[in-house]
Each structure stands twice: as structure tokens, then as C-alpha cells.
Amino acid sequence: MNPVLKLENINKKISDFFSLRDINLEFFKGEAHVLIGENASGKTSLMKIIAGFYLKDNGKIYIDNKEVKINSPADSKKIGISMIHQDFSLFDHFSIAENIFLESKKYSILSLKIIDFESMCSECDNLFAKFNIKLDSKTKVKKLSFAQKQLVEVAKAYVNKPKIIIMDEPSSSLTINESKILFNIIKELKKLNSVIIFISHRIEDLNAIGDRISILREGKIIFSSATLNLSEDKIINLMTGMDYSKRYPKLNIQHGREILRVKDLTSGKTFKNLNFNLYKKEILGITGLAGSGKSKLARCIFGIDKIKSGKIYLDNKFVNIKNTIDSIDNKIGYLSEDKYKDGLFLYLNIPLNITAPNLKRISNGYFIDKSFEKELTNTYTKKLDIKYANLYDNISQLSGGNQQKIALAKWIISRSKILILDEPTIGIDIASKVDIYNIINELVTKGSSIILISSDINEIIGMCDRVLVLYEGEISKTLTRENLSRDKIIKYMVKLGDNNL
């Protein structure tokens, strides 16, 4: 059988530390090809190349054995490729039916731009009945929930009968029932000989609809097969890579008294009734798949996102953390997952960045002591080995690793007792990674406690004293350093439980 779509040696540099390398893949008609990988493994970037949103650096794309050039989304649409994004392409102010039949032009009467609304709606209702979608075709799209919009997108794709349809994490927000509907539509699409490319990090999806699986890790295809006799933990092992946890500079430090206790913490939908504590001088790891609620948890403790119920105790005293001002006053520090968007002031210089949460230390309440500010900056850029050409350049000119160290310096200077680090080493160079682990060590020896949130299992095993594994907003297991292993973490990440160990 000839592949409908063939990728040959696709390369694309995404950032200084991440690129897609030598991607070779074949997609066949009537098959659902599931693309699995961790966050930031390159799944979405690869699909954006096929859909024309990114230009590849080199390599070739073949459709039906003929090489094609895809330079824009329009090129890809012409070929018959349609991509359903995590962010939608629906028109909020139009009805569901109008959105679904927008591109088919079936109901445009003559060349007048008039639409036969009634017959369009009745066909739409038929379609919904066929797939058991309980929505009224005349409803405006803006009234739909995230998951419902997703179904409308898929229905729209079905109507347009694309040659190739790319679905980016469609199942992540759906209920079981909605997922069933989605899988039914996919089965119908298979009958129509479409190629379905299904991006996911959920292994259940694979069993439900997949005919073929490819696993991406660090921008490379590390596994591709048609056989589906793969066990879940084998797949996760492939997804996350080898055991490299011995290279982390871990110091064994006796932990002290309880410094933080979280009781019945609930945040709307993401997680509920979380209970855990943190000791002085402890590195507590929190890991889980995307959507397990680990980042949201950090944002709630630091007071960025509102909590619905639950209490936070510091040093055995209840504290009401309403916002970031409260948490900083309570000596909590936080390094956000997306440092560019909300962690740093990219267009301000190094001293201004380093002193942002520390104004109280460098000013008398009215004026800033510039020489003290400079002294602090000089000291810490040296201590943390932050490399720069000029202290007063915008930090946008520094490398990602140095920027991350600046973000950390802020909280060292503010002498945070609890430091929450959300994916502190993602996307940065190795040397800076090593520096960051050593900074963590130094802070712990000086009495701070660290909450290290990471999806890098090696990092979690390498650095943490205790690990909470989250699964869909619940703590599925707490593991101590003595019984920490890659296999265990993986099993609890997908909640297989003790019986399967």
C-alpha cells in the first residue's frame, strides 16, 4: 500500500535547545495514526509543519508519492489537509450549522450570498443524530463549552471530508461520553478513507482508535509501529527515555520540622481535596502527566489563582493567601513554567529584574539605593555564574539558561523559605541545568524548602526527597526517596495502582 502522506528527513529548528530532527513518517489511508509524546516533545510543531503554519528547514513532504511544497496554511488546505487546533477556528457569533457548513458552500443559493438556513439546519440535526451529539444546530457557537466546540470542530471536519485530518489533543477535555462520540466520528472518517493523525499524550486513546503509533521524544521519532500489542508502561518508558537519574548532584540533607501543610485544597475543576505537607530543608517533587493539575497547584499556593476551598498552614499557623503580595510576605517564591510570558521583564535590565520582588530590601520605602542594588546584582550574577555582556542590557539578549538563573536570583535575594519551581530546567542548556540543581542544593542547605514541579522523571528521581504523583487532580501516590523508581512513578502517573506493580 502506498502512503497518502510521507515525510522524509524533516528538520526544523524550533529554539536554541530544541529542534525536530530527521523525521521520517508514513501515513496510510483509512488509518488513525496516533502520535504520542510528552509535553514539548515536538508533536504540535511537527503537525504545524504539515498544516503549513511552520516552514520546515529541510526535508521533503510527499502526497500520493508526489512531492509537494507546503508554504502556507492555504497550500495545505488545497491539498486537503485540515487541522483541528487546541485553539479553535470557529466563528463565535454564528450558529453551529453555519459553522459546520461554512466551507462546503452546499447551501449557498445561486451566486447570491443567501443561505438556505432551514435545510442546512435539518441536515446538521441529522448529522448530530447519527453521531448521538446532543446539540441544537441553531445554537450560537459562543454558548458552547470547550468540549462541545471541540465536537463541532470534528463534525465540521467530517462534513468537509478532508484527505488528511490532524487532531491536536482533541480528547484532553472531553468526558467519556464525548470521547465516544469523537471516536465514532473517527471511525466514520476511516471508512471514508481519510488519514487521521491523532496527537495525544493519553494512552487510552491509542487502544480506542489507533491503528498505528509513533512516539516522539526530544524532537525525534523514537518508535513507530503498526502493531498495537504495546503495554502502557512500555509506551511511557519510550516516551520518557532512559534512566539517567544518577547524574544529578543530590545532597542528602536531614529535613527539619513541618513548614507547610496543605489541607483539602480544592480549585474548581482542576484538582480537589489535596492534602500534603512540606518539611524544612526538603525537596518535594510533584509530577504527573499534562492536565494532572501540577502547575495549577503551584499557582494556587502562590496566590495567583483563587482556591475554592481548603487551607494552607505555614509553620502550623493558618495563613490566608489572597494574592501574590501575601505569599511573598510569607517568604514564598515562585518560578513560573513560562518564564518569558510571566516570569521575567524581558525588556528591562538585569538589576531591575533581580530586584523586582525585593524592592523592600533596596529602598527605604521612597527611594531606591542604586549602589546597593548594583552591589547585590554584581554579587549574585557572580555567585550564580550568570553570563552577560553588559549589566544594563535588556535581559532578552541573554541565553535562556542565564535568564532562568536571573529568575532564581530574585527569590534567593528575597530569602524565600519555600520556593516553588515549575519546570525550572525545561528548554535550557545543560550547563545552566547543572547550575540550577546546585542552586537548589545551596538553598536547601541554608534552610529553604523546595517544591520541584517537573515532568522530567529523571530530574524528579535525581533531586527529590519525596515525590507526589498526581493523576487527574488527585495524589495517586506519595513516594519517598528510598522507594523512588522510574517504573513506579510511571505507573502512578497513569494510575495503574499497586496491583500492577
Partner: protein, 260 residues
């Protein structure tokens, strides 16, 4: 910038140019003129220079010698290394401390610990540790090098072979990827090699300036270490290398201010 480092730079400039003025130094080093004057006073006290109006000139009598130091310029770095090392030493450990100033700092740091056995061929370390009766000190026999107060030679090596330790803190003078770990003398290298044979875990200690330097005699290949303790400002390539080769790299610094 740290006082020790500032003084180092001032000495370098003076050796190079023979004279220097205060305001140049203050802009160059980003510190106030008062601070510079204080540094110059310190150096004058050590007979290194003579202060003049607005500056200083080097004393002709000072032998221009790279090894000339008023005090150990890396003392702070060594103290920081030793505090990381002390976290690696637990009760009931049997360890080796090889000769060197950094290991001497480690000895000072572990004075408060109990039930530790230390095998060392450095008499300074032994005498430092002897103030705590809870630490058992084992000295091998051998030839005494009186300038460093260390023991070496055939007798030392034979003695060492009688033991087995859990951790060996080996201080070296040079680290490169090609030549591995190196020290200044053949005798020391061969004693250290014996030590490596009888330890479960090899921990290399060395301040940052030793990186990218090759000393006279090789002790071991770079991959033979389990852990390295040094300071943050080593070249990035070593951070990459150790991480990728499964060797734990500890870079010690003090996150509290001080030292300014």
C-alpha cells in the same frame, strides 16, 4: 566583587603596569574609591606597594612571582567547597582526605561530627582533626615532605593498601578532559592512585581555577570520579561533560550576601 578577588586584580595590574591610580581602579572594578583605598592600604601593609597621591606604585623589591600571595586567594572558594563536602560525610563513615588546602578546610568543617574515621597523609589535616577526640585519625608511615608536611613514598603506599574506605576526597591541581586529574608531583600522584584503589566512592575536590589546567603528573582519567565538588564559575563545557557522563557535579557557593 569579593575583596580577595579585587586584591588579586589590583596585584595583577600593578605587576603589569607598575603604577595605578585610584579612580581608574574604582571605575574598572565597579566599587567606590574608598574601598579601593582600603585595598591599597592592605597591600601596603604587606609591603607589596607604596601608596602615592591618588594611586600606588609597586615596590621594586617584591619578587615578581606568580605564586606570590599575601593570603590564600581561593580561601572563600575552598570554604564553600568544604561545606558541600561536609554534607556528604555521615556518622560511621571511613574517609580519606588527601593533602591540600581544600581538604584542610573540609577537616575544619567536620570537627563537629562524631564517629568518623579519617585516613590522611597530610600532617596539617591530622593535627587539625586531633582536637576532636570523636574522630579517629589514621596516618600511614612514609617519607615526610617538610615543605608541605605530607607523607609519601613506598611505605605510605604499602600502608594505604591495608584499608578500605567509603569515600575518598581527593584534591587535585589540574582538571582537563584529555589528561583527567593531575597534581604537581609524581610522588603525590602515585600516593593518590593508591588511595583511589581502596575507595568505594571517589570525590574530586578542586577550586574553579584548576579547570582547564594540566599539572605535572596524572592521577586518574576524568571518568574515574563519582562526584566533583568545585565552584560555579568553571567553564560550561565541564558542566556539560560531567552531566552527560553521569558524574555528579557540585558547584559550591554561598547564597547569603557577605563577602562584598
Amino acid at each position: 566583587m569579593f575583596a580577595a578577588e579585587r586584591i588579586r586584580i589590583i596585584m595583577e595590574i600593578l605587576k603589569d603596569k607598575n603604577h595605578i591610580n585610584v579612580s581608574d581602579l574604582s571605575t574598572m572594578l565597579n566599587v567606590s574609591e574608598v574601598t579601593i583605598r582600603r585595598d591599597l592600604e592592605k597591600l601596603e601593609g604587606k609591603n607589596f606597594l607604596t601608596r602615592t597621591h591618588g594611586g600606588a606604585i609597586i615596590n621594586e623589591s617584591v619578587p615578581i612571582d606568580d605564586d606570590y600571595t599575601i593570603e590564600d586567594p581561593y580561601h572563600e572558594d575552598r570554604v564553600e567547597i568544604s561545606s558541600i563536602a561536609s554534607h556528604m560525610i555521615e556518622e560511621n563513615d571511613v574517609i580519606i582526605l588527601s593533602p591540600g588546602l581544600t581538604n584542610l578546610c573540609i577537616a575544619k568543617k567536620i570537627l563537629t561530627k562524631k564517629k568518623i574515621t579519617v585516613l590522611t597523609n597530610d600532617l596539617n589535616i591530622a593535627s587539625e582533626l586531633s582536637s576532636n577526640s570523636n574522630i579517629k585519625i589514621i596516618l600511614p608511615g612514609g617519607d615526610l615532605d617538610s615543605s608541605f608536611m605530607t607523607l609519601s613514598g613506598r611505605l605510605t603506599e604499602e600502608n594505604i593498601r591495608n584499608f578500605y574506605v567509603s569515600k575518598a576526597f581527593i584534591e587535585v591541581d589540574g582538571i582537563t578532559t584529555q589528561r583527567g586529574y593531575t597534581v604537581q608531583s609524581i610522588e603525590r600522584a602515585s600516593t593518590l592512585q593508591e588511595m583511589l584503589k581502596i575507595t568505594k566512592e571517589t570525590i574530586i575536590v578542586s577550586h574553579y581555577k584548576c579547570f582547564d589546567k594540566i599539572a605535572f603528573s596524572q592521577v586518574a582519567d576524568i571518568k574515574s570520579a563519582h562526584k566533583i565538588i568545585t565552584n560555579p564559575s568553571i567553564p560550561d563545557k565541564y558542566k556539560n561533560y560531567f552531566f552527560e557522563n553521569e558524574i555528579q557535579l557540585f558547584t559550591a557557593f554561598n547564597s547569603f550576601e557577605g563577602g562584598i
